[in-house]
């Protein structure tokens, strides 16, 4: 490898190396194959499937800030919820139910909120940031509870009526339409996220996460960069929220809850942070397990989830995907 850059061939090799970092691996097709196959194999599980896809988008948005920029938050539901209420209120109060634009509006609301709150909050870090994000999300929830005329308060926002997708695909009980819709949205969000993390911008985020002092030293406008990625992430969370509102045709204060912020964090860390696909694995494993355990023993599903988390932390420290990597590296290292 050391000779690669000799003799003027250096630039080409370097470019190949950089491009290699972004290259697609065959395994990356797996989740999509699974998702498409699930549509045909488990037609009765599409409602759950839709919720999983939405959770993946949400977890993916968190990965952008947590996994790449190192921003730890316990209030990410604020943006999910803002998106959900944005989309829901657009339909319930203004009568606009076109699903794609309404969802985009949810993303817009999430993004704006992310920009404003990020501008203030991202000057802090550590426990302080954790508490600030948490308190902000809860305040938002209290606000939504108080603004009952607009949000429906504790009752939830009823009267959301979503038009057929692209004018022809109705919402159906089996959730076919929304499963497909959510899958397409997820694909687009994923491509965007992948593009972002492999841009020079994304590299600078990794730099900020790894060594913020040095980034100041090379002239990075750190705060601005963090606000930018936070806004992107909040917008993506808002999209997920909008999709959630549409697929349920109902929004309650729950979308803003601490539990939702916590759960998405758990999902992501479970799958593995900073690798995009961690969101896929974490959200799917968590939700399927929750669904199955709840059926086995509705009263005590929590115990199983708790045990899983403890085991993951003790034995699979870098999340499920990270541990898979380690395992592969070890077996390959053994051979070399």
């Amino acid at each position: 490898m050391t000779e690669l850059l000799d003799n003027g061939g250096g630039s080409a090799a370097a470019r190949r190396f950089m491009a290699g970092r972004e290259a697609w691996h065959w395994a990356e097709a797996l989740p999509w194959v699974v998702a498409v196959a699930a549509f045909f194999v488990f037609p009765d599980y599409l409602a759950l499937g839709t919720q999983i896809l939405i959770a993946i988008i949400f977890a993916l948005s968190l990965d952008l800030i947590l996994g790449y920029a190192g921003i730890i938050t316990l209030g990410h539901a604020a943006y999910f919820g803002a998106g959900a209420y944005g989309t829901g209120m657009l339909s319930a109060h203004l009568g606009w139910g076109e699903p794609i634009s309404a969802m985009l509006f949810g993303g817009f609301v999430g993004g704006v909120l992310g920009f404003v709150s990020g501008w203030v909050l991202l000057r802090y870090h550590g426990l302080t940031l954790l508490m600030l994000t948490l308190a902000t999300a809860i305040m938002l929830k209290e606000g939504a509870n108080a603004a009952e005329e607009w949000t429906g308060g504790f009752d939830g926002l009823v009267g959301i009526s979503i038009w057929p997708l692209l004018g022809s695909f109705e919402y159906d009980l089996w959730g076919k339409t929304y499963y497909c819709f959510a899958l397409v949205v997820l694909l687009l969000c994923f491509l965007a996220a992948r593009r972002i993390v492999h841009s020079a911008f994304g590299r600078s985020l990794v730099g900020i996460k790894g060594n913020v002092g040095r980034m100041h030293g090379v002239g990075t406008p750190v705060h601005g960069r963090l606000v930018a990625v936070y806004t992107l992430s909040a917008a993506m969370a808002g999209l997920a929220g909008g999709l959630f509102a549409e697929s349920n045709a109902y929004v309650t204060l729950d979308v803003l809850s601490f539990a939702r912020s916590g759960t998405v964090l758990i999902m992501l860390v479970l799958g593995g942070t900073g690798r995009l696909y961690g969101a896929f694995v974490g959200a799917a494993v968590y939700m399927i397990l929750e669904d199955e355990l709840a059926k086995l023993s509705p009263e005590f599903w929590e115990f199983g989830i708790g045990l899983l988390l403890v085991i993951v932390v003790l034995f699979f420290r870098r999340g499920l995907l990270g541990s898979l990597d380690d395992l592969r590296a070890r077996s390959m290292g053994g051979g070399a």
């Binding site: 919720q51 009823v158 309650t252 729950d254 809850s257 599903w301």
Partner: protein
């Protein structure tokens, strides 16, 4: 086991020819909170349902039932709605029941409209819920069954001229506030203030709210809190602040004197007046038998409360509907069977109002008394066969 899954189709075809000679298996989706803070309600209703099934196998007209239970967890709507969607599409249930929290029932209403699956509500008491779908029938109560008569009773019989309302700040709480205020002011009383006392998820420290009431000195203090954990805290705070000595009477719907919570309350609970449709201490033969069976099934230290009874009665209603349709359960058929259905429940006579699909039942005035070291409910008055006053008077969303 597997062959049973293959057969329903064949059996159904045979059923066409044989019409009725066959036993059908009716699938019933049960959506209740089985985890989290509300799991105690799920447990009560679940026990009530099971008790009925074990006692009255014959009531189902020879048909088998299969209960498919799903955890609705929180009152957030989304989880319940997903559970309902899954029960309809994956499990293909014929009928839905359960529903402790109003938002969960509300969120699920559009689905049952679309799928035409009937829903028998066993708790969720926000008055206007049956307006959301023609396939909803309710065997529990509305907030107005207790709050409205309580208002009249407080003014006329307890001699309260002024009252303060303290309520948990969510739809049933506001519903109850409106019910009491309407009843009380119609009878000539004056509500000085209505104080929201935090949300339903967690029991707040009531002291600051009650201090405020103590300093306002009303004759009556009407409190609505969600059934369960809140009630004991309410009475304890009332006792600790010495409000009885200050001449303030604590009244409310039966949620604050829930049977399962009575024994945890301090002695100041004695003398509280509430209006409700059930207590385990009712001395009717039907109820005595019911409580006896309950204790035999679940232990001597357990007590059924109004949720347990709703589970029991709800199952009775479902059994009736199944029998009436001979196992072939449809939404329209179920509602038709339940319209006007009457039952001799542990709480007294109940009827499903054919007009509103809501329940008609007695509202009883309860007084808490201390007997042999046990808190007991004594019935000191009855307002017979109350139709939901919210819909009867066409108030707000009940119009």
């Amino acid at each position: 086991m597997n062959y049973r899954k293959l057969f329903p189709g064949i059996i159904a075809m045979l059923g066409l020819a044989w019409s009725g000679a066959n036993a059908e298996t009716v699938k019933i989706g049960v959506v209740l909170p089985y985890s989290g803070g509300a799991a105690q309600f799920g447990e009560q209703i679940d026990r009530g349902m099971n008790l009925f099934v074990s006692q009255h196998k014959e009531a189902f007209g020879g048909h088998e039932i299969e209960l498919i239970k799903r955890d609705s967890k929180r009152p957030g709507g989304d989880i319940a709605k997903n559970a309902v969607q899954e029960l309809i599409t994956r499990e293909k249930v014929d009928l839905l029941t359960g529903f402790v929290f109003s938002p969960n029932a509300m969120a699920s209403a559009p689905l049952i409209n679309q799928a035409k699956v009937p829903m028998v509500i066993m708790n969720a008491g926000t008055a206007w819920i049956p307006k959301l779908s023609p396939y909803i029938a309710r065997v529990s109560f509305t907030m107005w069954h207790a709050g409205y008569p309580m208002g009249g009773y407080a003014s006329e019989s307890l001699g309260c001229k002024t009252a303060v309302v303290g309520f948990t700040n969510y739809p049933p709480g506001k519903d109850s506030r409106n019910a009491f205020t309407t009843g009380f002011e119609k009878a000539g009383g004056k509500v000085l203030e209505a104080i929201p006392m935090g949300g339903p998820r967690q029991v707040p420290d009531f002291t600051p709210f009650f201090q405020r009431v103590k300093n306002a000195k009303p004759d009556c203090f009407y409190v609505f809190v969600p059934a369960g954990n809140h009630a004991v805290a309410v009475v304890k705070t009332y006792a600790n602040l010495g409000m009885r000595a200050a001449g303030i009477r604590l009244i409310g719907p039966g949620d604050i004197t829930q049977d399962t919570k009575l024994q945890d309350m301090p002695k100041e609970a004695a003398g509280m007046i509430t209006v409700h449709h059930y207590s385990a201490d009712y001395k009717t033969p039907v109820n005595l038998a019911f409580v006896k069976a309950w204790k035999a099934a679940y232990g001597a230290d357990t007590t059924p409360d109004f949720m347990g009874v709703a589970g029991y009665d709800g199952m009775a209603a479902i059994a009736h509907a199944i029998k009436a349709q001979n196992g072939a359960v449809s939404a329209d058929g179920t509602i038709k069977a339940l319209s006007g259905w009457s039952y001799d429940s542990p709480r007294g006579k109940i009827t499903i109002d054919p007009e509103t699909r809501d329940i008609i039942q007695d509202s009883n005035v309860h007084k808490v008394v201390l007997k042999d070291g046990r808190m007991m409910i004594e019935v000191i008055g009855t307002i017979p066969q109350v139709k939901d006053p919210c819909k009867a008077n066409g108030i707000g969303k009940c119009k």
